[in-house]
């Protein structure tokens, strides 16, 4: 394969609850074995987003040609959120924004997130988050959620994390009909036919490979795409070309040049 491989979804830092250490060398070893050129990396473990973003930069500094920094933003501290985004993107060169509404107890279309989105929209960047939450109001649909968000923030792009663990028709349809919404593949489940389903429903341009490293192994997660029954060109797009286009990595570089 002669196109770049980019892991769109991974985490920096320790997660001792599952025996995961903050080990950059191990990270690089697994990336090498998996055939991953570059990994988009965030840290969502800290209530202090600044601390997590600084930790991400330790990885980026250790291997700037391998890691792409991703900014974490949390509405728990609205007085800090936009200021930290300014720093993370303009000073640290981070490439997109990760939010984690599960920690906030309100879904990603809650107005508490809107100041963050206004900033992201103004900067025409991407946000990655889950597509659904345990606390979603009855009747919530993914398509309805992201249609409303896209109407309100037309310059943003959205990446729905973990949308290849099951065959999720709502997520795939959302990515198909909304040009600014993408699907990301990582999951501890590897549902039979999920990659094929997403490519068929959403299109090969709308799916991004992600691993959830260091919780999950990039070698196992990338295999969902590598061994899928889809055309070779589709695999190349999912494994890297779509991320390059989405993050405009072939243009002015962010978080380290490609």
């Amino acid at each position: 394969m002669d196109t770049p491989v980019i892991d769109f979804h991974s985490h920096a830092g320790s997660w001792g609850r599952y025996g995961v250490d903050a080990d950059c060398d191990l990270y690089l070893k697994v990336m090498d074995a998996a055939g991953v050129d570059r990994t988009c990396i965030n840290c969502i473990w800290f209530g202090d987003a600044r601390r997590g973003n600084d930790l991400v930069m330790e990885y980026v500094k250790q291997a700037p040609d391998r890691f792409i920094g991703v900014a974490f933003a949390t509405p728990h501290y609205p007085e800090e959120a936009v200021k930290e985004l300014e720093r993370a993107v303009h000073e640290l060169g981070m490439a997109y924004v990760k939010i984690y509404p599960d920690y906030f107890g309100r879904p990603n279309d809650d107005p508490a997130y809107f100041p963050i989105y206004e900033w992201v929209d103004e900067h025409e960047m991407a946000v990655m988050c889950h597509a659904t939450y345990p606390f979603d109001p009855p009747g919530t649909t993914i398509e309805g959620r992201f249609t409303a968000l896209s109407d309100r923030f037309p310059n943003m792009r959205w990446v729905m994390a973990h949308t290849a663990g099951t065959l999720d028709a709502d997520a795939a349809e959302t990515a198909r009909v909304l040009p600014n919404v993408y699907m990301e593949t990582c999951s501890s489940r590897t549902a039979l036919g999920a990659t094929e389903f997403n490519v068929e429903r959403a299109g090969e341009d709308k799916v991004l490979y992600g691993s959830d490293m260091a919780l999950m192994d990039a070698r196992q997660q990338i295999a969902k795409v590598v061994t899928a029954d889809i055309p070779r060109r589709a695999k190349e797009k999912i494994l890297g070309l779509n991320a390059i286009r989405l993050l405009r990595l072939d243009g002015p570089a962010k978080g380290g040049a490609i």
């Binding site: 770049p4 599952y18 090498d32 055939g35 501890s188 919780l215 070698r219």
Partner: protein
């Protein structure tokens, strides 16, 4: 930078024998593949030669009915090895033993989390004694999820206390998720007759760590088909940097040895 390490034309380089596949319909959802022909087609696509299969109905509802249905579904297909599900509190040992021997089933699965019994000698002792004497290995899922069952964790302490009383019995811990990574490795370390099937063990570098703890003779490839695809974990195993002998053992040799096949 270009990494040449992704193999879009991957095929396993050693014989693969799947240690964890289900065959047959489920009551709680429609599965993508529920018959032998479909399973064999997926095995062919993934490059897997053989599979050890059990019936979900035997786990979820009735072991005798499910096991009989499994044999019917397998027919005379030699690539599929039957694994009987047993429910010690209610199944008759002598009757089940006769069925296992008649079917030449080489492995048994117990699901104490779903069947609601303590995995203790006073419940399963007679069964483990029989399995041990016959050289039949026992599979224990770390949890078992259905749409109406919460998938509670296996009682690791009960497994430890019980399995250590049967040192000649081989027990295979299967379907271990990363949330069970807190107790599965110590359990493996403390029980030399315990092996692990890795269909759900996706924690980063986790399999390499397991190999470091128990060596290549006690780690086995499994897919958890049809809930999961067959090939991804096989690809993963081929990317661990194992020598060919160890890769052969993990991908199928260990299972073939346990099943005397």
């Amino acid at each position: 930078m270009m990494t040449p390490g992704v193999d879009l034309d991957f095929r396993p380089t050693v014989p693969a024998f799947d240690a964890n596949a289900a065959l047959g319909r489920r009551h709680d959802r429609r599965v993508a593949v529920d018959d032998a022909a479909g399973l064999l087609a997926e095995m062919d696509r993934a490059g897997v030669e053989r599979a050890l299969v059990y019936a979900p109905h035997a786990a979820a509802f009735d072991s005798a009915e499910g096991n009989a249905g499994l044999l019917e579904a397998i027919g005379d297909e030699s690539r599929l090895a039957p694994q009987f599900v047993c429910n010690p509190p209610f199944d008759d040992l002598d009757e089940t033993a006769a069925q296992i021997e008649a079917a030449d089933a080489r492995a048994v699965r117990m699901v104490p989390t779903l069947h609601h019994y303590p995995f203790r000698s006073w419940v399963v002792g007679g069964w483990l004694e029989w399995l041990s004497a016959r050289g039949i290995p026992l599979w224990l899922p770390a949890s078992y999820e259905t749409n109406w069952h919460d998938g509670a964790d296996l009682d690791a302490h009960a497994v430890h206390e019980t399995v250590r009383q049967f040192p000649d019995l081989t027990v295979v811990l299967c379907e271990v998720h990363y949330v069970q990574a807190s107790w599965a490795p110590p359990l493996l370390r403390s029980l030399p007759n315990l092996s692990i099937e890795v269909s759900r063990y996706v924690i980063a570098d986790g399999i390499a760590q397991l190999l470091g703890i128990v060596g290549p003779g006690r780690v086995m490839f499994g897919s958890r088909f049809p809930e999961q695809a067959i090939a991804p974990q096989l690809y993963h195993l081929h990317r661990l940097g194992l020598n060919e002998t160890d890769l052969r053992a993990v991908c199928g040799g260990n299972l073939a040895r346990l099943l005397r096949m």
